[in-house]
């Protein structure tokens, strides 16, 4: 019995040994190549079949007119159509508002919370869990809760407004600009992000900042305590230490979160979809992805939609490259 169990337990090891010995049979001059092929094959197969191939398919599709990709080859016609379309630019504006409205706010808030969390020793795990909680929940379920909170009739946000003596708001149903509402109508209603868009941003800040906090905590804990302490001994104040020591040392973290955050924000879909019922039909909450999505799935303009998504992908790649080039250089690496 025990022998059987032992044999069984040794099975993985024997398998690994067998594979290793197989790898050793390859000529030495091939170096790591056989091992690399074996190790990367599963991941590359999956990515190849379900990411790269569809990507190339999408690209060839973008050069065709008509519906469902069965139209004639029209070269860059779809690209030009998109660039000429007012709706395309409108949805790009929404995406840009969203990126600008969420990433800096999330970075600042998460950094603040992480900083405080890092300083305390008691109940740290408890608080960290608390802040990370929204991140692990499904957007669908959380959005259902938030939609109820945002409900203009009897929703909690309007109850709070009444409590502080402010008129009830339309929240997710309000297409007018936030600036317009805040300034009492001094700014044109179509300028700046709409209140509905701001509600979506608020939801995503709530949902996503847990991730940033945890990453910031990781960054903070990698800073040797002596560095900060020696700065303090040298007479630097709390804020000065923060500015001259902590922030520069954290710059790789901030940079990483910035890049990942921007890529994700450009691709934001679920929260828009779940909060505004399929992106809503109002332009003020339709970002580029939702625009592409409706052109693709609802109206069947595959070529046009893939052309727009290709431009979006290129924009994301270019933006990431720019960040890497200009911001990444200044990032301080210890």
């Amino acid at each position: 019995m025990t022998r059987m169990a032992e044999t069984f337990a040794a099975l993985p090891d024997r398998l690994l040994a067998l594979l290793d010995s197989l790898l050793d049979r390859f000529p030495r001059r091939m170096g790591d190549i056989p091992a690399a092929v074996l190790l990367t094959a599963p991941a590359l197969l999956v990515l190849g079949a379900f990411s790269f191939t569809p990507m190339v398919n999408a690209l060839t599709l973008s050069l065709r007119g008509g519906k469902h990709g069965d139209g004639a080859f029209i070269g860059l016609g779809n690209y030009l159509d998109a660039l000429r379309s007012g709706e395309f630019w409108q949805s790009l504006t929404v995406t840009i508002y969203y990126v600008l409205g969420t990433i800096p706010a999330m970075l600042a808030f998460s950094f603040l919370i992480a900083l405080v969390l890092h300083r305390i020793s008691r109940a740290r795990g408890f608080f960290r869990t608390l802040y990370f909680l929204p991140y692990v929940t499904s957007v669908v379920a959380a959005a259902m809760v938030w939609r109820s909170l945002f409900n203009p009739r009897g929703g909690v946000f309007n109850l709070l407004m009444a409590w502080v003596g402010v008129a009830p708001q339309q929240w997710l149903l309000e297409p007018r600009g936030m600036l317009h509402l805040l300034t009492g109508g001094a700014v044109n209603a179509s300028i700046g992000p709409s209140m509905a868009l701001c509600c979506v941003m608020l939801f995503d800040i709530w949902h996503g900042c847990g991730f940033m906090i945890v990453v910031f905590l990781a960054g903070l804990s990698s800073i040797p305590r002596e560095v900060e302490e020696s700065a303090r001994i040298d007479g630097a104040g709390g804020l000065r230490t923060l500015w001259h020591i902590t922030l520069p040392l954290l710059s790789p973290t901030i940079f990483f979160l910035g890049v990942v955050g921007v890529v994700r924000a450009f691709q934001a879909f679920n929260s828009f979809y779940a909060l505004t019922q399929g992106g809503g039909n109002t332009q003020d909450t339709r970002n580029l992805i939702l625009y592409i999505y409706s052109q693709f799935y609802d109206y069947g303009y595959w070529g046009y939609a893939t052309a727009a998504s290709t431009m979006l992908t290129l924009a994301i790649v270019a933006l990431t490259a720019l960040q890497w080039r200009f911001v990444g250089r200044r990032v301080h690496y210890s």
Partner: protein
């Protein structure tokens, strides 16, 4: 004062963070009449346990959970395996095209999933996987972010480990699974957790590639519940709560291992 101030600050913001959850739980405890009465109070004032059987009767959540766990569990395991292997290869092996391949892997992160949705659906159908577990699982068995994280974890290990093991005649595979994997365990747990969450919480893909009720996962079940005519807010919140619960439990279980340094390692490029 200076000592409690951080705690007060954290508690205040923390309350805001969990407030929607508390509201959800509170509403889930109420009967329909009081759930649809506007109130700021978080205390339900009653425990209408009937909501629970009502929710489970309204939709077969038991079956949905089975599907979701099966799919998310398999995806999670597979992602750990594929990213361990690929991450190790990209970090420690020398082979031509390594840079280009890795850039391609990273590049796939930048393609919006919505853009490659239909080509993927077509592929699944041609493979005959429509409405099967394979369709829900296989496309998600590897992802760029996990490979990236795992590569960073292996890069962070001191080179001596590798050299010592190689001198001892330990092959790549034995090294990877017997020595390397335990060393990067925090990252393994992190990757597994994120893969599980991503799979469990996904909606659009399962909605499109499955049709039969027996293949439905919880998120799809929840939207079906949502579009229900004359929706009952208390049952909806009850359903949301039971859908959210497993991920919260999982996170609590994993967080012992899920240390910040795991993600921290991912940053140092």
């Amino acid at each position: 004062m200076r000592r409690v101030l951080p705690h007060i600050l954290l508690a205040a913001f923390g309350l805001l963070m969990v407030w929607p959850f508390l509201w959800m739980l509170s509403t889930a405890c109420k009967d329909y009449a009081s759930a649809s009465t506007p109130s700021l109070s978080l205390w339900p004032g009653m425990f209408h346990w009937q909501n629970l059987p009502d929710t489970f009767r309204a939709a077969p959540f038991g079956r949905y959970f089975f599907n979701s766990f099966l799919v998310a569990g398999t995806v999670s395991l597979s992602v750990v395996l594929t990213s361990l292997m690929a991450g190790y290869a990209f970090a420690r092996l020398r082979f031509p095209g390594r840079g280009v391949l890795f850039a391609l892997v990273l590049g796939s992160m930048m393609v919006p999933f919505e853009a490659i949705f239909v080509p993927n659906f077509v592929l699944i159908s041609r493979l005959g996987w429509y409405d099967s577990y394979a369709a829900l699982i296989v496309p998600w068995c590897a992802n760029a972010f996990s490979i990236f994280l795992m590569r960073q974890a292996f890069l962070a290990l001191p080179a001596d480990f590798y050299d010592a093991a190689r001198i001892d005649g330990c092959g790549h595979l034995r090294f990877l699974f017997r020595i390397g994997a335990p060393l990067v365990r925090p990252m393994v747990i992190t990757v597994a957790l994120f893969a599980f969450l991503g799979s469990y919480n996904s909606l659009l893909w399962p909605l499109v590639v499955t049709a039969d009720g027996s293949m439905r996962v919880v998120q799809v079940g929840l939207t079906a519940f949502n579009t229900d005519a004359g929706v009952r807010i208390n049952l909806l919140m009850c359903a949301s709560a039971i859908v959210i619960l497993p991920t919260v439990v999982l996170y609590f279980a994993a967080q012992r291992y899920f240390v910040e340094s795991a993600l921290g390692a991912g940053i140092k490029a």
